[in-house]
């Protein structure tokens, strides 16, 4: 499968390629005990397959979100896409160039500034000893693009774009609230004129009213600069709000991905349905929720076949033995589920309550 994909994606195809394409991405971690323990206790090496067989596209100017419970590998995908981890298998393409196989820093260099990351914890991702203007100016300095007065002016402009004041540049990160710090992170990402932002739970540490400010800002910047986002979150409502496309991950695998309205209205994979049914929301439709029994299995020792089969009400012998492939559905989604493939799982429509009335 991987071989076939590689043959069909030459660099020349850049024109009709989406801005970002991920094919059959896998990232394994060696979680074995130290060598001596392994020898004495006669234990083999252990690998954690954090991400396995993940493929998706992100067109320019769009938002692709990954959702899933903790440990499903969504953050690992984010880090592999920006190049913080090297993929064990598979490729990451940016504008048709395979950036995941660059061997030297020199080759990666032109792409570094165009791909930036925003992290969950705005307290940990800003250097506490640097003034905000230096934090924001750093990506520009790194490329020697501007200096002196021009640099100061650019930093002021960037701070204004994220709704901070240019005078805030003289302050240190601790003088800001969580939401303002996340704005600084965004200004820093914009400083290098990034086109593709990978946002790993950017609002999970923030209160709802601040979250709304940041989400609004991110959408506004996307419109202004035609930014492309890979958005990682466990909050389905936030994901619905920001995304164009949504992928659902379970135990390192992408079980379903589709255009957001398709995914939320016509969820196909049993895990997607379970997620949509269990998340408490403000609808209060009074629907009786059937909490799914069981928990996410240990990823070091995942179940055979389909990773979801122990919790799946539709699992049969084939699900226990054979890993489902991701196949397109008539609605334009991609679903990795034997039950869907065999037509055992009819399409179900999910309705959402009308918008809340405001007093």
């Amino acid at each position: 499968m991987a071989e076939r994909v590689r043959k069909h994606t030459p660099v020349a195809a850049a024109a009709d390629m989406p801005l970002v394409r991920v094919t059959d991405l896998a990232r394994y971690f060696d979680v074995s005990k130290p060598w001596l323990n392994r020898v004495l206790e006669r234990e083999p090496r252990q690998t954690l397959r954090a991400v396995d067989g993940v493929s998706f596209d992100i067109p320019k100017g769009k938002t692709f979100s990954l959702v899933g419970e903790s440990g499903c590998g969504k953050s690992t995908v984010a880090r592999t896409v920006v190049g913080l981890y090297r993929p064990t298998k598979g490729q990451v393409f940016f504008e048709g160039r395979e950036i995941s196989r660059f061997d030297s820093r020199q080759e990666m260099r032109p792409y570094r500034s165009r791909i930036q990351m925003i992290f969950q914890d705005p307290y940990a991702s800003l250097n506490p000893r640097w003034r905000v203007k230096d934090i924001v100016a750093e990506p520009i300095r790194a490329e020697n693009r501007l200096a002196g007065k021009a640099l100061d002016a650019r930093v002021g402009e960037l701070l204004k774009q994220v709704k901070l004041s240019p005078s805030d540049g003289m302050k240190y990160p601790h003088e800001f609230s969580g939401g303002q710090r996340q704005r600084i992170s965004i200004a820093r990402a914009l400083a290098s004129e990034a086109e593709f932002l990978v946002c790993d739970e950017p609002t999970s540490a923030l209160d709802v009213s601040v979250q709304a400010q940041i989400l609004n800002l991110m959408k506004e910047l996307q419109r202004t600069f035609a930014l492309t986002y890979l958005f990682i979150s466990h909050n389905l409502a936030v994901v619905y709000h920001v995304s164009d496309w949504v992928g659902v991950m379970y135990l390192g695998r992408l079980v379903e991905w589709a255009e957001k309205r398709t995914l939320f209205r016509y969820p196909r994979h049993p895990y997607t349905r379970m997620l949509l049914d269990t998340i408490p929301d403000l609808d209060m439709s009074g629907r009786e929720r059937a909490p799914v029994a069981g928990e996410v299995p240990n990823p070091i020792n995942p179940p055979s076949g389909c990773p979801f089969h122990p919790r799946c009400p539709h699992a049969n012998e084939r699900c226990k033995a054979e890993l489902p492939r991701s196949l397109p559905t008539p609605e334009g989604a991609f679903v990795a589920c034997h039950a869907v493939e065999e037509g055992r799982l009819p399409v179900e429509k999910r309705d959402y309550a009308l918008p809340r009335t405001d007093a």
């Binding site: 609230s177 709802v208 466990h234 403000l282 209060m284 928990e295 918008p355 405001d358 007093a359």
Partner: protein, 329 residues
């Protein structure tokens, strides 16, 4: 009408600092009826956890209750000695916290912790206490309870640990459970299981719950009534459905519009500019006045009290009857 299980009257909690005394909770009053789940929601620092901690008598010094009353089953409990409060805690009020691992002693099996708690509050033989512990574990949905009772906390997964903590809180059949962010550390599928469990327990035992959380979705799904807190005060209190669908206080209205919901296509979320004031910067009058689109002179002078605003009660001068009458005519 019978007396409510818990009455909190004009509660005030202060933090003395070197320069001045800060007020963390200011004039908070509410009731909890038998078998009711009262949600307390608010942004971080709004004082929702402090209110819960004050009720179980677990305020960390230098925090202190500076005024008001907390009445449980007609008895004042805010001025009890540590030793007497200890008898009530666990027996009448149970507590569930966010991180189940810190609520359990890692060195003892969960069975030993359950038996110890049961025997502290109920006069019962060790054998019977153990039988009750198994029964409790079964009740909170732990499979193979008679075997798992001899496991240590680290041998349980996060969701199962939270179930053990709930069993621990239920040991002496308390009338009231304070659940402080009980599902925040858990995954959504586990969260749904724990919330369903809490709802079932209140239904079957008539236990009341104060559910403290920042997640309005959890409240909408679980609670009967909700108190929305802002800067140490209750901004609005009322039936969940009304507060979510027809909020009255400008803050609640802003907050509800700021929460994204599935299935609703909107370009912009409602945005409340600015942030909640810090304790040393609460403005005079209404704490929300710097961010409120409807603020008028009185909001900057007088601190609003809870006023009838349709089906809910809101601490907002917009609902002052004198003003409403003047406006009408």
């Amino acid at each position: 009408m019978a007396q409510p299980l818990l009455q909190v009257r004009d509660l005030r909690i202060e933090i003395p600092t070197r320069n001045k005394v800060l007020t963390a909770i200011d004039g908070v009053s509410f009731d909890v009826a038998d078998g009711e789940i009262l949600g307390m929601v608010g942004e971080s620092g709004a004082g929702k956890s402090l209110t819960g901690a004050a009720i179980i008598g677990l305020l960390d010094p230098p925090l202190r209750i500076a005024g008001g009353e907390i009445i449980l089953e007609g008895q004042r409990i805010d001025n009890l000695s540590y030793a007497r409060m200890r008898r009530i805690r666990g027996k009448k009020i149970g507590a569930i916290f966010q991180d189940p691992l810190t609520s359990l002693n890692p060195l003892f099996t969960v069975g030993r912790q359950l038996v110890e708690t049961i025997m502290t509050h109920i006069d019962i033989t060790p054998t019977k206490a153990r039988a009750r512990a198994v029964e409790l574990l079964r009740e909170v949905g732990i499979p193979a309870a008679e075997r798992r009772i001899d496991s240590y906390p680290h041998q349980f997964s996060g969701g199962m640990r939270q179930r053990v903590v709930i069993a621990l809180a239920l040991c002496a059949n308390p009338r009231l459970i304070i659940a402080d962010e009980p599902t925040t550390a858990l995954d959504v599928s586990i969260q749904a299981q724990i919330l369903a469990l809490l709802k079932r327990l209140t239904r079957e035992h008539g236990t009341s719950v104060i559910l403290v959380t920042h997640d309005m979705g959890v409240i909408a799904e679980t609670a009967n009534r909700v108190a929305v807190m802002y800067a140490g005060r209750i901004a609005e209190i009322g039936p969940v459905r009304e507060v979510v669908r027809h909020p009255s206080h400008p803050y609640t209205r802003g907050l509800m519009g700021a929460i994204p919901t599935m299935g609703h296509d909107i370009e912009q979320l409602n945005q409340i500019d600015g942030s909640m004031p810090r304790l040393d910067g609460i403005p005079p009058g209404c704490a929300f006045n710097p961010r409120c689109p409807h603020a008028f002179e009185r909001c900057f002078k007088d601190q609003p009290v809870l006023l009838d605003a349709g089906p809910t009660r809101a601490a907002c001068w917009l609902y002052d009857t004198a003003r409403l009458e003047a406006a009408n005519g």
